[in-house]
Amino acid sequence: MAPILEINNLYKNYGATEVLKDINVSIEKGDFLVLVGPSGCGKSTLLNCIAGLEPITGGTLRIDGHDMTHVSPKDRDIAMVFQSYALYPTMSVAKNITFGMKVRGVDAETQKSKLAEVARQLQIEPFLNRRPGQLSGGQRQRVAMGRALVRDPKLFLFDEPLSNLDAKLRVEMRTEIKTLHQKLGASMVYVTHDQIEAMTLATKIVVMKGGIIQQIGSPAEIYNRPANLFVADFMGSPAMNLIPAKTQSGSGGTLIEIERPEHEPIRLTDPRARNLPKDIILGLRPEDISEPGFRVGALVQEAPCKVEIVEPAGADTYVQTRLGGKPLTARLHSETEAAPGTVHNLAFDLSKVSYFEPESGKRIN
């Protein structure tokens, strides 16, 4: 079976500026693809290109095996949900949802039954006759979803659909979108700048920066094995600790030495690492630096560190110290005895460590 969406060597220029460079992505039916990156990375432009709302400069784009590179949006069999919802202000909710069918000449009976079905699914029956202006943000969001769902397209496109909602509603809608995806088994492409949304929703993530794809992979791959410093820093909250370090090959593996002010350097040994360059950047997620005794394994090593800031966050307490000239965050349990200004033992679990080459920022293990 052909991939539901296949993008090959896609380029997009605005005049002389290249906004998308050599994009290659493909997803299978039922995939939930999330395009994530900081603002201006080209993710929304890429989505608009997939929708056919922006012409592409080079490359090809296929939907369900058909070449769609130069096909207009209405013939691509897609539906789209926008950040501002883009509901038609003068039409009732019902008319908003059925407008697409009306334009396409679908008969009134079908329009009615489809509308009823979608309204039930999204629980928007009570306000089908209201105008968008009379709805709350969350309700508008549902209507926008309804307008997409009713079309039953090959591909759903979402352009930051949750970013205009307040925090609580955002979490609720996120779950709802996920449920919907699982229930419908639909193929979706979803743009967001929120890496948590990306992690929770995606079956496949594309991390972008400056119009270039940085990494494609499952949420776990992206999280555990970031391809470069940018992805490591961008995905995950609090961000991955990225600490400059020096290495030295020894008999028991590689010796890693991390400088710190006013203290002895920290020395860790990674028995698995081979042939690391002399200077590296060591990446460890906060949860991989914990209270001694909580993680066990051959690769857990302890070192005393001076605590600078303690931030209780309910279930966990984040502790900040300073290593290699940079702040380092560790995730400890909430009853930790670490206090600002004291020295506390921290356990470094090297089983999940990432090594990066400082110059290029590329991953080397």
Partner: protein, 304 residues
């Protein structure tokens, strides 16, 4: 511009503790007296026009400007409407009033529709050069029309519509386009481009999006454009006097002819009645719809 009907921003300024001292009350009274005097100043000419039009010529000669008519007579109105002389003809302002109606109504409709479509294209279907086109059109609003009078007279002749109402209509549509386009462009520019995108994905095209989505949202700005254009065209004198002839003149030109070229006895009451007749349509529009004009101009973002 912001809505003048909004609550005074200076509610803040005036929210000082209400010390009911004598000075404060006196100041308040003085304020109302000053505002009242200005109201009299602005109303006085209208008052004089109305009272004069209801007086007999005899009373005008003997009485004074501000006195109320001793005896109401509508003769002057009758004369102004159907008998007063504009040069050689003596049919009153009636035929010219209808000329103005036949001129203004289609010209307002055409220029508003064209302005709406132009604004829609410029604001929502941006293409390279659209901004330059907009700037050129905008600048066209500001030229002194004297600079186009001579060539326009010749071109209307070449087109065979010199001295006709359609010819005058053509002129008003052309030189009204800049403003109507400006109104609609500024209104549409605040509508998120995603609306067009959503409609495109829904399968609608350029024309359908305009008529099904944009036109229904444009009522406030259509009101602005219609009021503006109607006032401009109805009150115009320069184009009317330059490009019309005896039978096709608009009411402003006829009024000026009645006032300035009657021979024999000067009938001031008839002049005033004719002036009021000429002013009534725009005055009515202003009183009925004036607040929608300012509201529409300031209406911008559309929630959706």
């Amino acid at each position: 511009m912001t809505d003048v009907s909004a609550t005074p921003a200076h509610a803040a300024v005036s929210e000082r503790p209400q010390g009911r001292s004598f000075g404060k009350i006196a100041l308040r009274w003085l304020l109302y007296v000053v505002l009242g005097l200005f109201a009299i100043y602005y109303l006085m000419p209208l008052f004089v026009m109305v009272t004069t039009s209801l007086k007999s010529l005899e009373e005008i000669r003997t009485g004074d400007l501000l006195s109320l008519p001793r005896e109401l007579t509508f003769d002057a109105w009758r004369t102004a409407w159907s008998e007063a002389c504009t040069g050689i003809q003596c049919e009153g302002v009636k035929p010219y009033f209808w000329n103005s109606v036949m001129l203004a109504v289609p010209a307002v409709m055409i220029s508003t529709l064209l302005g709406a479509m132009n604004g829609y294209v410029i604001a929502q279907w941006r293409f390279r050069g659209a901004n330059i086109i907009f700037a050129l059109m905008l600048f066209g609003c500001f030229i002194p029309f004297q600079v186009v009078l001579l060539p326009m007279a010749r071109v209307l002749g070449l087109m065979g519509i010199a001295g006709t109402i359609p010819g005058l209509m053509f002129v008003h549509v052309i030189y009204g386009l800049g403003f109507t386009t400006l109104f609609f462009r500024n209104y549409y520019v605040s509508i998120p481009v995603e609306l067009v995108k959503a409609a495109k994905v829904d399968g609608a095209g350029f024309v359908r999006i305009f008529f099904a989505i944009f036109l229904p949202l444009s009522i406030p700005i259509i009101v602005v454009s219609v009021i503006w254009q109607f006032t401009q065209i109805w009150n115009d004198f320069l184009f009317g006097v330059s490009f019309s002839q005896a039978g096709t003149q608009p009411v402003t030109v006829a009024l000026n002819n009645i006032v300035n070229s009657t021979t024999g006895v000067k009938e001031y009451n008839v002049d005033m009645a004719a002036a009021i007749i000429a002013a009534l349509p725009t005055l009515l529009v202003y009183i009925v719809a004036g607040k929608y004009f300012i509201r529409g101009l300031t209406a911008g973002s559309v929630k959706g």
